[in-house]
């Protein structure tokens, strides 16, 4: 199970302890991509980004170039950076924010230049105190270096960057909720249409919202060229991607691997990546793309890490998080915990999500506690059907945003894959795994 020798695009500096400093950044080719971009026309930069098929690294996987091309022409428009990483078990942007903040800043300025946007907001999850300090320091240093501010590197192009802290709300990772939050309001998602950010975004102006990892790729694309980027990966899934590997593996962590050419098996078992499951345990199931993604079983471990490939198999690469569960895992408890998360983080605007999440959490809890009924399985699916009619993939939506329709994924997966385990909880009146405490 060879892991390809693709270059590291966004994690190339992480071997240095001072990877977050301007000195190290400049010594390792920093801001060269921006200089190159500024020597091109904005249209040429946009064209390059469109040509490389840079799929958004936030979760939806929408091509960055197409997103940019949809920006409504207006006297004022904005770039907003989504650094509110909160999808369960996703911790890749956290790494980029703390360890290579200049790479992000450079990516932001390149994007601003391509879009001819002169104000950018970097919205960073409030819990990332160190990340906020590092990015603020990087922006300060970049101003001093002439890479941000007026007349960047003498090009005549000017841009101002504001670092904005969040305050702890998962839903603010949804782009319209993030915009509401940035406007100083509760993080309530806006309904689309009409509130597509590219048309009506921040302060009602056209806005591009890009993920941290997406933008962090831009300096490399500029310095190495579109062709070098497109040569990596396959089909629409070009380049490398960060995968946050967590749960029952020997070496949990963030790994940058070539898309499509690498499989889930490589990621979980390769000695230089996950290193396999500890304690001689067997793989029971894994979650391929964040808490919203349907689960996969051991028979799907050879699927390639490609957006379309995983989509065709009935799930998604999503946020780039992979959670491994070994054979000691109680799937009822796992589904319960994920559902509890959605219940706590539902913004409360839409009834199916606000009420449904709570009902689902309580029913899963009683099954786990041994007081569930056999009919609870149908009840779970019935409530799920109210959230995402048909409980199919990709899900249908009955709510303003996709949080609601994401809730049934883990429940439906767990029931479909491990129905007997649910029934055993009901029959024995207890969790067969003797699950420990829970909140």
């Amino acid at each position: 199970m060879a892991v390809t020798d693709a270059p590291r695009i966004v994690t190339s500096r992480l071997e240095y302890d001072d990877s977050h400093t301007l000195e190290r950044y400049l010594a390792t080719g920093g801001y060269e991509g921006l200089r190159k971009a500024l020597a091109m026309t904005p249209e040429a930069v946009s064209h390059d980004v469109d040509a490389v098929s840079l799929l958004g690294r936030g979760g939806a996987g929408f091509p960055a170039g197409r997103k940019w091309s949809m920006l409504r022409k207006a006297p004022t428009s904005y770039l907003v950076v989504n650094g509110d990483e909160s999808e369960p078990a996703t911790f890749k942007d956290h790494l980029l924010i703390e360890r290579d903040p200049h790479q992000l800043v450079e990516g932001v300025v390149i994007a601003c230049y391509a879009l001819q946007v002169t104000t950018a907001f970097i919205y960073i999850r409030g819990e990332f105190a160190l990340g906020l300090e590092r990015v603020t320091a990087a922006v300060n240093d970049a101003y001093g270096h002439g890479a941000v501010g007026r007349d960047i590197f003498g090009s005549g192009f000017s841009v101002d960057i504001v670092v904005h802290p969040g305050a702890g709300a998962y839903i603010c990772g949804e782009e319209t909720a993030l915009i509401e939050s940035l406007e100083g309001k509760r993080g309530f998602p806006r309904i689309k249409p009409p509130y597509f950010p590219a048309a009506i975004g921040l302060y009602g102006e056209p806005t591009v919202v890009n993920n941290v990892e997406t933008l962090s790729n831009l300096p490399w694309v500029m310095t190495h060229g579109a062709a070098a980027f497109s040569a990596l990966g396959e089909g629409r899934s070009t380049g490398t991607r960060l995968f946050a590997l967590a749960g029952h593996v020997r070496r949990p962590g963030v790994y940058e691997v070539e898309m499509v050419k690498t499989t889930f098996r490589d990621l979980i078992y390769a000695p230089v990546l996950g290193g396999g499951l500890p304690g001689g345990r067997e793989l029971k199931a894994f979650i391929p793309g964040g808490a919203s993604a349907p689960w996969f079983g051991p028979d799907q471990v050879d699927l390639p890490l490609g957006q379309d490939e995983v989509g065709a198999a009935g799930s998604m690469l999503g946020s780039g998080s992979v959670v491994v569960m070994d054979d000691s895992t109680c799937v009822v408890r796992a589904a319960w915990r994920i559902t509890r998360f959605f219940w706590r983080e539902s913004c409360g605007q839409c009834t199916p999500c606000r009420e449904g999440s709570g009902w689902l959490e309580k029913i899963l809890r009683r099954i786990e506690d041994g007081t569930g009924l056999e009919s609870d399985l149908d009840l779970l699916m019935d409530i799920s059907d109210n959230l995402a009619p048909g409980v199919s993939w990709p899900p249908q939506q009955t709510t303003i945003c996709v949080l609601g329709s994401s809730i049934p994924s883990s429940i439906a997966s767990a029931i479909r894959m491990f129905r007997d385990e649910f029934l055993l909880h009901v029959k024995d009146g207890a969790c067969p795994f003797g699950a420990g405490p829970h909140g």
């Binding site: 007026r150 101002d160 100083g184 749960g247 998080s321």
Partner: protein
């Protein structure tokens, strides 16, 4: 009139923050963090002054603040300990750690110790799953936390040995923005137009250069067409 609650230096910083945004209300969350840095939590007096700074009512500040987990509208301890119990940490013993934390601190999850030093919370994913189970103290990360580690951590905090790494609750970002503040709107527009003109000139120059090269190698007819 009563004395203002936020001291002058905090008010000055607050006005700087408001100036960063095209619309003052955008400064609401950063100002709430600033008030928490001052008081450890969001006092009603502070919310009233924030409301005035951004031009909304105190009720709107409260209504917004209560949406966010990090903004506390009730008093919390000097150290807010948030133990992640989401899926990745749960698979690695987070609930056992939370139970242990309750025993060590002598409080239930959600409560504050009688001496006001610790508040214990059960958090959603904190995005440090490579070091699960993880927790934060005042939003500073601690990973791969064993039960013994937790007890040592509490001792260190109590004895003030981590004062540099873990400021008291409410202090989020100790680095202040010192670059450029804000490119003012008027000169920005002028510079933007100048930049666009310069880019157009450059594009025209490279086009005419290409045209000249083409006319040299071919006939002069093509130039006339352009």
């Amino acid at each position: 009139m009563t004395q203002p609650h936020l001291p002058p230096e905090v008010m000055a910083r607050a006005r700087e923050i408001v100036a960063l945004y095209p619309h003052p209300r955008s400064a609401l969350i950063p100002l709430c963090h600033l008030a928490q840095e001052q008081d450890g939590w969001l006092r009603p007096e502070a919310m009233a002054e924030i409301a005035e700074l951004v031009g909304i009512t105190p009720a709107e500040v409260l209504g917004t603040a209560t949406f966010y987990d990090m903004l506390h509208t009730e008093e919390v301890g000097r150290y807010v300990v948030t133990v992640c119990t989401n899926i990745a940490c749960m698979l690695r013993g987070a609930y056992e750690l939370l139970e242990h934390a309750e025993q060590t601190l002598g409080i239930r999850t959600g409560a504050t110790s009688a001496d006001g030093s610790f508040t214990l919370e059960d958090a959603e994913c904190l995005a440090d799953c490579g070091r699960a189970p993880c927790l934060q103290v005042n939003h500073r990360f601690f990973g791969d936390v064993t039960h013994d580690d937790f007890d040592r951590l509490v001792d260190d905090l109590r004895e003030g040995r981590l004062d540099d790494e873990v400021p008291r609750h409410g202090t989020l970002v100790r680095v202040r923005r010192d670059g450029g503040l804000r490119v003012d709107a008027v000169s920005l527009r002028t510079e933007r137009q100048a930049a666009a003109a310069a880019m157009a000139d450059r594009a025209a120059a490279s086009e005419s250069k290409a045209a000249a090269a083409a006319s040299e190698s071919k006939s002069s007819e093509s130039k006339g067409a352009g």
